[in-house]
């Protein structure tokens, strides 16, 4: 598939006119990620988001010696959105390719260029980010509520790690 077709196949961009997809495909920085390569390093400063186009990526946190897996993400998912809009935030997790993958990188300037050209893509991306953040917050709160109503002895193990996976993905 060519690049516009790859983008068009993602649910995130469903229904976007072909001309706008072509513009995004030209504007975005495309990265081919070989297996094992680190896309984002925990603790580094970030100013952009990534959209996974192909492949699967492992999100983990920890030290060089001990890594803790917190999530796995695939096509259509957004990574690092908090850094895009806040610009001065450090990455909260490491993201590495589980197999060969492709991502596009977008900076805030790219969104502004698209907005000035009358594109609906910034609207779609901002809405997707709002939805993602709202869902993470809601799922985290619901998880906490579910756990807190149970007697201490019956509470599931690993709650802290599950919460870390939910709240730590954005940056």
């Amino acid at each position: 598939m060519n690049r516009p077709a790859l983008l068009q196949s993602l649910p995130l961009f469903a229904g976007v006119p072909a001309g706008e997809i072509d513009r995004l495909a030209e504007l975005a920085e495309w990265r081919s990620i070989p297996v094992g390569m680190v896309l984002m390093e925990e603790g580094e400063r970030g100013d952009s988001l990534f959209v996974v186009v192909e492949g699967r990526f492992l999100v983990d946190v920890g030290t060089a010696a001990v890594r803790q897996r917190i999530a796995e993400v695939g096509p259509g998912e957004i990574l690092g959105e908090t850094c895009l809009f806040r610009r001065t935030v450090v990455r909260s997790a490491r993201v590495a390719a589980l197999g060969p993958g492709t991502v596009i990188r977008l900076g805030i300037g790219d969104l502004d260029v698209l907005a000035r050209s009358g594109s609906r893509l910034p609207l779609l991306i901002e809405r997707a980010v709002l939805h993602t953040l709202t869902e993470r917050i809601t799922r985290s709160r619901e998880l906490i509520e579910e756990v807190l109503v149970q007697p201490a002895q019956q509470r599931p193990k690993g709650i802290v790690q599950r919460l870390r996976a939910l709240v730590g993905l954005g940056a």
């Binding site: 901002e126 939805h131 809601t138 985290s140 807190l148 509470r155």
Partner: protein, 197 residues
């Protein structure tokens, strides 16, 4: 509740950390969608379980956050919101009933964005809608960053935790995810914005 002019609303929006970075030329049309409201001491202005009919920005005074806890089926005060914080934004974005009640602690001034106005701003395809959406993204990402900081600290020292300590942390985390207790993250954001000017 009483309403005032858009110019007053702009001045108040500029004081909120989430709207501060937005140019005045955009704040004005956003302000048209909001009204200033004064709430008397003790009044619950947004009730748990009610429809998210509005999003509020706390302008002055403090707001008590009330919800049930594991120890009490009746809503009790679990935290309070400071000026600049948002009320009801997560419920408004999800279009689901409110998860907590909000009560004025003394006289409280609020900016109220009715549900229809929130929807219009969220659906706006131009720079106005973008500014509003990004203000909300800032607020939500603040909640998550503050929660992540708390979890990292909790996990990071490697100490074994009692069930009671974990429960306390989880309750605190719940409030953080609701937008409470995030002043440090907000301050950090403002410093960053100031640097960028």
């Amino acid at each position: 509740m009483t309403s005032r002019r858009p110019r007053d609303v702009v001045r108040e929006l500029e004081r909120s950390p989430y709207f501060r970075g937005i140019p005045e030329t955009l704040l004005h049309p956003i302000a048209v969608h909001a009204e200033l409201a004064r709430v008397s001491d003790g009044l619950v202005f947004a009730e748990r379980g009610s429809a998210p009919d509005a999003l509020f920005v706390v302008i002055s005074g403090k707001v008590d956050v009330l919800r049930p806890t594991p120890a009490s089926d009746e809503p009790v005060k679990v935290s309070e919101l400071q000026p600049g914080m948002l009320v009801g934004h997560v419920s408004a974005l999800r279009d689901r009933p409110r998860q907590a009640s909000y009560r004025a602690q003394g006289t409280v001034d609020l900016l109220k964005f009715p549900r229809d106005a929130v929807k219009r701003l969220l659906d706006d395809e131009g720079v106005l809608g973008s500014a509003f959406r990004r203000a909300l993204i800032m607020a939500l990402s603040n909640h998550l960053l503050a929660a992540n900081q708390k979890l990292t600290t909790f996990i990071g020292d490697g100490k074994p935790r009692t069930a009671k300590e974990t429960e306390g942390m989880l309750q605190e985390l719940h409030d953080t995810l609701s937008g409470v207790d995030e002043q440090s993250a907000v301050s950090g954001q403002n410093s960053a914005r100031d640097e960028g000017r």
